[in-house]
């Protein structure tokens, strides 16, 4: 099998930055969009309200099924990023395998997952709230509901596999894991990019 297709994925730090950058872009674009909306409203009529009030009013429910799965998916996203970059000490010195007691424990991966969920708790709880400001088609909601968790779970399983074979390496598997992770992430942020495009027009 020709694995050259994965050769472009060389610099893993850049790839980590790209995935974090996408999340940051998601937040920044949303803030920018809200400021633009506020400014536009202010132009139409001098606003007697603050931008926070606007956010409150603009928010609409997206459905409890979707919301629940969105929170789960964001949690999985942070976990899959963590597992891809911080299980093995290939990129950063800090990793699960640097803590031998935890790494050799039966519940090592579970402990790592809980730890990562704990430190990213605020993020995956608050980020899905941004969806409420945009009109998300039922099709996109369905993709997020069904496909994103599956993609991220596959990415996590591949990362766990890479850790168990460490110090052996398998770049193809790593690349595949990254692709599943980034595809899931793109799907998760996609409603905002299309929504912002609509709002800013």
């Amino acid at each position: 099998m020709n694995y050259e297709i994965f050769n472009f994925i060389q610099n893993r730090v850049v790839l980590l930055m790209a995935s974090i950058g996408l999340i940051l872009a998601f937040v920044i674009l949303h803030r920018f969009c809200m400021s633009r909306l506020y400014a536009k409203l202010d132009r139409i009529k001098k606003s007697s309200f603050k931008i926070d009030q606007l956010e409150e009013v603009c928010s609409k429910p997206q459905g409890s099924n979707f919301n629940t799965m969105a929170i789960v998916s964001w949690n999985l996203l942070f976990m899959s990023i963590g597992m891809l970059f911080f299980l093995t000490p290939e990129i950063f010195g800090l990793s699960l395998l640097k803590v031998p007691q935890l790494a050799s424990s039966r519940f090592g991966f579970l402990g790592f997952g809980i730890f990562f969920s704990f430190i990213t708790f605020v993020l995956y709880i608050s980020l899905p709230g941004i969806y409420g400001f945009y009109e998300i088609s039922k099709k996109i909601k369905t993709y997020i509901f069904y496909y994103v968790p599956v993609m991220l779970l596959i990415s996590m399983i591949l990362s766990v596999y890479l850790t168990t074979i460490y110090p052996l390496r398998n770049d193809s598997i790593w690349s595949l894991s990254y692709i599943f992770m980034i595809l899931g992430e793109i799907l998760l942020v996609s409603p905002i990019f299309s929504g912002v495009r609509g709002r800013l027009k």
Binding site: F49, L54, P61, G63, S64, N65, T68, R199, K201
Partner: protein, 587 residues
């Protein structure tokens, strides 16, 4: 405004389905339930009188079985062996459990009047539908008082009252019934999902906001003489008697020209429409509806080439600006239903007719263009300059002053009579819904204009009159003026199932000196003269206070007091001209 939308009859059900499409993710294998999320966080019910129709679809489940979205069959509360049913059948010939109402608006009107007026029926009903009889109260709970009028009582108290702010909250889950009643792990998942989302209310986009109670009622029905036409008035009256200040609105669909899919001829449907409109519009504020939105299916039929699904969706899309809850932050309570009700009824003796004009665009159009396009896109033909007030609901980034100016320029309605309700909407789309209040009172036939509201009303009422006149001809009177119903052919009044008492009452209702025929002629005369609202004034009943045939209040010789012979002749000439015109147009 957060209405509880009640779709009545087949057409009403099809439209309300559009309002109740879930915006949440659903799983085809199992219902995940959760909060049933729809646009605007509204609630809705389908009310029908035909169990077969309900069985032929899968969107609505039986409300009584705990399903949501749910349907309710009006006569489900009546036991097949009910004494009340037998009594009414014997005395009046009306079957309370008949499936569907076969385009007879007067059938249901009579049924509700019987319950309202016949003391024996009231006693029987109170006895049969008392709180002591739990079998008769499947949805009502134990501490309800008895039902004098079980049909609307069951529909309102056991059906959709729970979704409104006036509903009793005996059952804390009354607002979140499982989707189509499916129990098991799916529902457990949904509860877990709901609780999880509630726990993180902020991050979960305030999912609970959709469980707010509805602040008004909006009945959706076709005015084609079937279940919708028959129910819309008695039901609104019943609810109004129980809740004097609760906002109640109705949207009536004028059926298109020609025969419909059930081969019900246009004239018969138009009679149903005339009866329903007459009854709805003659109730003073506080005793009936607070506004009748009219939509002409003829316009939608042409626009969507007879695609009924697209037509139903168009009605939903047109009403979206009205029910969108996303108000501007500095005017959060602007579209509060009681406030809108007050505005609708301002300075009026009778509920207004409201004509919706709708337009939406993804392009960057200015306010003037929006208004212009909306006025070209009326859902019922009318002369917008005749309206005495306008209610403008807009979605998108739209200036209040600019939209007010635009409406003023294009309609000539004074600025102080223009009420603007702005919603933020989503994305780039701009949307406008203008409700024109009572936009009639001009001359009906104008050169170059196909339809005006006046001409359409005249057309509907004339064809109803024509149908009544034709049916009248089949009735032969004895020399003493009485009628031997047994030896008459089947006609509008002489239906096989009616008792003689009912036939007499109906005959007077249709053809009596103060009957519907005369009233409709009066209204046509008003329209011909270009008189402004109200179109109908005097309420008209089939039975009198004791469930007997209505007493004649003026003698036949007094007919001349209503119209001079010249006027009668003139009206008849106009009507026959108009009918000939319609026939020609069709040919």
């Amino acid at each position: 405004m957060r209405p509880c939308i009640v779709g009545i009859g087949g057409a009403g059900g099809n439209i309300v389905k559009n309002f109740l499409q879930s915006e949440d993710v659903e799983c085809p294998l199992a219902s995940f339930g959760g909060e049933y999320l729809v646009f605007g966080g509204i609630k809705g019910v389908w009310l029908d009188s035909d169990q077969d129709d309900a069985n032929d679809q899968s969107f609505f489940g039986r409300l009584e079985d705990g399903c949501y979205p749910g349907y309710i069959i009006s006569h489900d509360i009546i036991d097949p062996d009910s004494n009340l049913k037998k009594y009414i059948m014997a005395k009046y010939g009306h079957d309370l459990k008949v499936q569907g109402y076969d385009r007879r608006a007067e059938y249901l009107k009579a049924v509700f009047e019987i319950f309202d007026k016949d003391p024996s029926v009231k006693d029987l009903a109170l006895d049969e539908f008392s709180p002591k009889n739990p079998k008769a109260f499947p949805l009502l709970g134990s501490n309800e008082i008895g039902l004098e009028n079980p049909l609307p009582g069951y529909i309102w108290r056991g059906g959709f009252r729970r979704f409104t702010s006036v509903g009793k909250k005996e059952n804390p889950n009354g607002n979140s019934l499982p989707v189509n009643g499916k129990e098991g792990s799916a529902v457990q998942f949904s509860s877990a999902a709901k609780n999880f989302a509630k726990f993180f209310a902020r991050s979960a986009n305030k999912v609970n906001s959709s469980s707010k109670d509805c602040d008004s009622l909006l009945f959706l029905a076709s005015l084609g003489g079937g279940t919708g036409t028959g129910f819309i008035n008695p039901l609104s009256r019943f609810v109004r008697n129980e809740e004097r200040a609760f906002p109640i609105f109705a949207l009536g669909l004028q059926t298109e020209r020609g025969a419909d899919s059930r081969h019900a001829e246009e004239r018969k449907r138009n009679l149903g429409s005339a009866i329903a409109m007459y009854d709805l519009l003659t109730k003073p504020p506080g005793s009936g509806i607070d506004g009748l939105l009219l939509v002409d299916n003829e316009i939608l039929h042409k626009k969507y080439s007879g695609n009924y699904q697209a037509m139903d969706k168009a009605v939903f899309r047109a009403l979206r600006p009205l029910i969108d809850p996303k108000n501007y932050p500095d005017s959060l309570n602007q579209d509060d239903a009681p406030a809108i009700r007050g505005k609708f009824l301002e300075n009026l003796r009778f509920p207004p007719i409201l004509i919706p004009c709708h337009f939406e665009s993804d392009k960057n159009v200015n306010e003037s263009r929006l208004v212009q396009c909306a006025l070209k896109n009326k859902l019922y033909s009318c002369d917008h300059r005749r309206a005495d007030m306008a209610f403008v609901f807009v979605r998108g980034l739209i200036s209040d002053a600019a939209i007010r100016d635009a409406v003023n320029i294009h309609t000539t309605i004074p600025e102080k009579m223009i009420n603007v309700y702005r919603k933020i909407g989503e994305g780039k789309r701009k949307e406008i819904l203008i409700l024109l209040r009572n936009p009639y009172g001009g001359l009906p036939f104008k050169e170059g204009e196909m339809d005006t509201m006046e001409s359409r009303f005249i057309e509907v009422m004339s064809s109803a009159l024509d149908f009544m006149a034709e049916e009248h001809k089949r009735v032969e009177k004895r020399s003493d003026g009485t009628i031997d119903w047994a030896n008459q052919p089947v006609s509008l009044v002489n239906q096989a199932d009616y008792s003689s008492k009912t036939k007499d009452a109906l005959f007077k209702y249709f053809y009596g000196p103060e009957g519907l025929e005369i009233r409709i002629k009066e209204s046509i005369d008003k329209l011909m003269r270009g008189e402004a609202a109200p179109l109908f004034i005097k309420p008209l009943d089939i039975f009198d206070g004791n469930g007997e045939s209505r007493r004649e209040q003026i003698s036949p010789s007094d007919k001349s007091k209503v119209f001079s012979p010249i006027e009668v002749e003139e009206i008849e000439r106009i009507i026959s001209d108009k009918l000939r015109g319609i026939e020609k147009g069709r040919a």
